[in-house]
Symmetry: C2
Subunit: 175 residues, 2 copies
Amino acid sequence: MNLKALHKLGYGLYVVTSRKGDRLNGQIANSVFQITSEPPTIAVSINKNNLTWEFIKESQVFAVSVLSQDTPLSFIGRFGFKSGRDIDKLEGLNYQIGQTKAPVVTDHAVSYLEAKVIKEMDVGTHTIFVGEVASAEVLNEKACMTYDYYHQVKRGTIPKTAPSYIGEEGSKNKT
Amino acid sequence: MNLKALHKLGYGLYVVTSRKGDRLNGQIANSVFQITSEPPTIAVSINKNNLTWEFIKESQVFAVSVLSQDTPLSFIGRFGFKSGRDIDKLEGLNYQIGQTKAPVVTDHAVSYLEAKVIKEMDVGTHTIFVGEVASAEVLNEKACMTYDYYHQVKRGTIPKTAPSYIGEEGSKNKT
């Protein structure tokens, strides 16, 4: 068995946000996907140790911002490698409070979706939350970040001279 | 609300296969994703009207072949736009019977995973099946097909002169 087969699965890269009372938080996620069209539903898979999991569990709402390919690694690092228990991740960023009251991050976003949880499934370390889409907008037509592209940039296999090079400020971030 | 926001979500492209007794079948899917690492689990979202759904429901096993970027549209059309109720989709193709007894399609595959269903969630028109990985192999290091790339080729926005152009034989397939 070679579990590197799992690395061949394709994903985008997203900021998933939620709230708990007056507190707002978000995290990087790659497992976001549409499930049904009628009604439109999306699913996210969130680690139970993450603060965003606790917020979604409590408020039963979440928002997803689809990141553009030119999102700086520092922005991804802020949402991906720091905890909302230590810092206010949304401080200084552009976001709006959506219809569901979840915060919708618009910086570096190509589109966003807000959803109200209609089902959830416990899968050990993670929960899959399925939400009915409550609002959705396309913000621009930039190329979307893929998980594969993100890892290529981090590994340095996309050269700095490429037009899409992201910059070094976040390169010290660890996965 | 602009549901085109959903089109910005990123996916790979896969053949998902299963069996029911002696009958084998498979279909194209884009919603395949890893959920947990310990133990390794993957989820697939399958439309209840599809024969593969019936097979997974019955046998509780499935396999996923990750398609390479140079997969011909005709191959995708065979699995995506025809029903196993009408044709034997695996006839004439290279596949192997895996540990779970599910058929594993190796033609145009970069890697494959086999899984045994441990949980499922009914989401209206679709079911999300979560399976524990039973076997997994990487077959080659070709570029993987993304759902976005597949649509670009179909739309003709990737020119025929590009090294990765797929060919015309399947271009009459409809989504």
